[in-house]
Each structure stands twice: as C-alpha cells, then as structure tokens.
C-alpha cells in the first residue's frame, strides 16, 4: 500500500489540476461572484433602513445563508465529473487497478473538489473587508461563519461524489446530487409536519442547515461538528459501496 497520505496527495493534486484546467471552475466562479456581489450590494443598501439591527444581522447572516444555498446547486455541478467521467472514459480502471484503495480515491476526489470550492468561497472575502472599512469588527462571527460554510460545502461535496459514482452520465449525476441534497434540506420542513417533538427534533437534526445555522449564529455545539463529520463519513462509505458493487 502506498502510504495513505501520499496516495491522496498524488491523486488530489491531479484532480485539482484537472479542475483548474477546465473552464468550468472559472465559469462557476464568475457566476458565483456576480450573484454574491449583487446580493451583498442589496443587503448593504437595505441595511441603511434597518437601523435597529447590527451589520451582522442585516448583512452577514443573510449573505452566508445565501452562499450556503447557492452551493447546494454548485457542489453537484463541481463534483459531477469525479466518478461519472472516469467511468465513461474507462480511466476508473486505471485507478482501481492501482495501489490506491477506494477510500484514498474517494477522499482525494472530495479534497480536490473541496479545495476548488474553497477557492470560490475565498473570493467573497472582500465582503467582510468592505464592512471592516465601515468599522465592523465582529471577526469571530465572520470566522465561524466561514468555517460553517466550508463544512457545509464539504457535506454537499461528499453527496455529489456519491451521486457521481452511481452513473456514467454527467447531467444525471448533477441532478441526482442536487435531488439528494434538496431532500435532505426538506427534512427540516418535514419536522414541522409532526406533533411529536422527538420526531421533529430528529428531522431537524438530520438537515444540514440546522447545523450550519449554529455556526453563523456563533453558537457551535460539539454535536454540530459530530453531525457534519458523520455525514461525510456516511456518504464516503456509500460511495465506497457503489464503487465496489458497480463493477463492470
């Protein structure tokens, strides 16, 4: 076995190169920036009217909420190629007959896509900087929100990779990823439909936004972190199963 980290390093480096050599990342980044910039601008204008709210409440909270929501769409598009394309071009055989284990392959894909998304998220760093110029100084909220967004994106990406491992078709892969993510979101709505408080809390607990909000509100609990990582672990395992069972 190649040492675990070396294998991941080799493959994720290649994946990252692939990502940044394709026009997709730049198109998505441009769209993302335009959308976020426009939203930020609007919240900024609106915040003048809301004099009773802090900048955190009137700008940062909605901005991060939107960013999280936009990645619900972007993550499956970013990850759709990971396994679907490898399978279609038969290059997956190359990886599967190498010394890399399934988990190394899956983690490399997740890491490469995560770093690509992190690059996109990094572009929004201008917003807090703009706010800082007008005297905003709640940096802890900014940092915990970024951590929250990134962790939440990591969850989306693990779902996207799983969806991609199920099919050879890129469009199907992206749609599938999106559908899984959306239904996970809807868990929190399902919670409202029941009178059973335990059920309601269970459903709420299973939805990503519930945990994401803890980060943005600055009230991170240990179970938020546990949830995120068990979520990623669960989908990594599902991807492993799918790679294992769907062999030609």
């Amino acid at each position: 076995m190649i040492s675990f980290s070396k294998g991941i390093y080799l493959l994720s480096k290649k994946e990252l190169k692939d990502n940044f050599l394709s026009p997709m990342v730049y198109i998505l980044s441009a769209l993302f920036c335009i959308l976020m910039g426009w939203l930020f601008f609007n919240y900024l204008i609106a915040s003048k009217e809301l004099t009773d709210q802090t900048l955190t409440q009137s700008i940062l909270l909605p901005i991060f909420g939107n960013m999280n929501f936009i990645f619900l769409f972007l993550a499956p598009i970013l990850t759709m190629r990971s396994f679907a394309e490898e399978r279609k071009l038969h290059t997956l055989e190359l990886l599967l007959t190498s010394r890399l284990s399934h988990f190394q392959i899956i983690l490399s894909k997740i890491i490469a896509n995560f770093l690509t998304s992190a690059f996109m998220v990094l572009l929004t760093i201008v917003f807090p900087i703009v706010l800082a110029m007008s005297g905003y100084s709640h940096w802890s909220v900014v940092i915990s929100s970024y951590v929250g967004v990134l962790l939440s994106i990591l969850c989306y990406i693990s779902v996207g990779c799983f969806a991609s491992s199920l099919t050879e078709n890129l469009v199907v892969s992206a749609l599938l990823g999106f559908c899984i993510l959306l239904s996970l979101m809807l868990f929190s709505l399902t919670g409202n439909a029941t009178n059973n408080i335990l059920m309601a809390q269970l459903f709420q607990y299973l939805a990503i936004p519930f945990h994401f909000e803890s980060f943005v509100r600055g009230g991170i609990r240990s179970f938020n972190i546990v949830y995120m990582f068990s979520f990623i672990g669960f989908f990594t395992y599902l991807t492993h199963l799918s790679l294992d069972s769907r062999r030609w």
């Binding site: 076995m1 190649i2 294998g7 080799l10 493959l11 290649k14 692939d18 050599l21 394709s22 071009l89 038969h90 290059t91 997956l92 055989e93 190359l94 990886l95 599967l96 007959t97 190498s98 010394r99 890399l100 062999r247 030609w248």
Partner: protein
C-alpha cells in the same frame, strides 16, 4: 512455482449472462501466451478478473502464487494491464500521465531499479520521446495506443496483460507492437489477446482458445497446430469446376471433403484429405484431366483454420 497466472474453476456470471463457465488457465512464467476466441468469448472478462478489476463469481485466481482477491495491492504492482478501452486522460500531457501512472503503482520495497531510468527506457521503447510534452487528447489513435501500452509497463510489472493491443493500428504500427512484445519477452510474462491470428502464430509460445466462456484448447502452439495436421489440405486453382469433377472427387474415399472458393483466375478447390498419405500426383492428374488445372499446392494448416475448426466443433 513457475506459474505466473493460475486460474482454477473460475466462473463469472453477469446478471443474465454467464461470461465464464468454470475455466482453468495456466500461464507459465516467461512465456508469451496468446488468448484467442471469437467476439464475446470472455477474453476481456478473464483478463479483468486476473488484474483484480472485477471479482470472479467463483473459483481460484492466483497471480504469482498469491490469491488475487486477498492481495489486491500486490497484484496491482505485479500486473501491468492494457484494458480493451485505453484508460487515458485526454487533458494530460503524455509525460505527466505516465509519471502519474508510475507513482500510483510504484512499490518502493519491490522496486528493481530507478524510477526515472525505467521511465526513460519505456518512453524510448514505445517511441514516445517526441510526443512527451503533448496532450494525450491531441494524439493520433496509434500514439494513444502506445501511451496506453506504456502505461502498463511504466512501473516495472512482471506480468503484462494486453487486451487487443493492435486494435485499430496500421500494419507498421502492428509490426512495432510485435517488436516491442518480442523485446519484453526477455523479462516479462505476457498474456495477449488479439484477433490477429498470424501475429499470435509469430510471437506466442502457448495459446488458449476460448469460446462462449469455455476453454476449448490450451497448450503449446506447436502441439495444438500439429493436432490438426491429422488431415492434409491441397489447393488447386482451376478455370472451372464441372459437375463430373465434383462427382469424381466425392467418389474417392480418402477425400474428407472439399470447398470451392472464388479465385481471380477461376475457382479455388480446397480438398481435405484423410490421413498422412501423399495423394498429390493422383489428385493433380485427376483434376488436370477433368478441369483446367492452373496451379496445385499442398497447404499447411494456418492457425486461423485451426481456430475455425476448433470453434466450429
């Protein structure tokens, strides 16, 4: 142990299709083993199973004495596989791609020599030096095939499995591949599947013929070929074949059968003779008087016909 590959009672069932039915296959170390069979016979399936890419439904698969299902990593460095569809990343440069392939298969504890030396060696052997810095996607089919072959060699595997390496290549490129295999023969064990039977006859020491998931024949090439020289074949080129000639030929009890084929100068009469006796003079005389004999020769059984005979049964 001098078996490089050892399959015992291996079956593979895809949903609804039995691709392999209880096959045994032995490939001895240091041989070039030809694996031939009609389309859909199960060649690629067998090769994928040996390389550990898909699991066998049942049976034992050993590579160099090690069970494939238990020693995935060992097998992956031991075997270099050229799959049926070349696994190429079109967006990568040839050099980068080969280095990547080398890195993900390299086992430092098993390594025999320097990585860089091996890489240079393979690049030169596969005649890829000139395209080292080009994108794989822009190469011609022949070069892509060479890159895919280099990919199987670049980490110094002992056993090379080539699934139709000459598919889609021009005659010169096929000759290059043959030459490469002949060079590799010295240090490697090679399992080769192809539909180019005359290539098999030229480079293989042993062959296995498979059809519909069953092994029909396996063994040294010469043994299998001589098994079929129990009958001789004569060929006669004649202007035309009349009914009376046909009748007379059928009347001879030593003639097992004959075919009449198209020929540029008339017809080609292919006559199969029972036993080893020489009937050349009497036959040629007969045909000369009945038809218009232009040419008469004895024909050696080519592998292609051996193959047809075996698969027909």
């Amino acid at each position: 142990m001098n078996l490089a590959i050892n399959l015992k009672g291996v079956s593979k069932v895809y949903p609804g299709v039995t691709a392999l039915d209880n096959i045994d296959l032995q490939v001895r170390k240091g041989t070039v083993h030809g694996f031939i069979g009609p389309n859909g016979a199960g060649k690629s399936t067998t090769m994928k199973i040996i390389a550990g890419l898909i699991p066998a439904t049942s049976g034992l698969v050993e590579v160099d004495g090690q069970d494939v299902s238990k020693n995935g990593a060992f097998v992956s460095t031991k075997i270099g596989l050229l799959p049926e569809q070349p696994p190429l990343y079109n967006g990568m440069k040839v050099g980068d791609y080969l280095e990547f392939c080398q890195a993900i298969n390299w086992d430092p504890s098993e390594a025999k020599g320097d990585r860089k030396d091996l890489m240079e060696n393979i690049l030169t052997r596969c005649k890829l030096q000139e395209v080292k810095n080009r994108l794989i996607g822009n190469l011609s089919k022949g070069f892509k095939q060479r890159v895919a072959m280099a990919q199987a060699l670049v980490y110094g595997a002992d056993i090379i499995i080539l699934d139709e390496p000459t598919i889609g290549l021009d005659p010169n490129a096929i000759a290059d591949v043959r030459q490469l295999i002949e060079e590799l023969k010295k240090e490697h064990t090679i399992l080769l599947s192809t539909h180019q039977l005359h290539e098999v006859a030229r480079i293989c020491d042993e062959i296995t013929i498979i059809d519909q998931g069953k092994i029909l024949r396996t063994g040294p090439l010469v043994t299998i070929q001589s098994e079929f020289s129990t009958f001789k074949t004569y060929e006669a080129v004649v202007r035309s074949v009349g009914e009376d000639l046909k009748k007379e030929l059928l009347a001879k009890d030593y003639i097992q059968g004959f075919d009449i084929l198209e020929h540029s100068e008339g017809s080609l009469l292919r006559i199969r003779i029972q036993g080893q006796e020489d009937y050349r003079s009497s036959l040629s005389e007969l045909i000369a008087t009945r038809g218009n004999l232009l040419e008469f020769r004895e024909r050696k059984m080519e592998l292609e016909e051996v193959f047809r005979e075996i698969v027909r049964d």
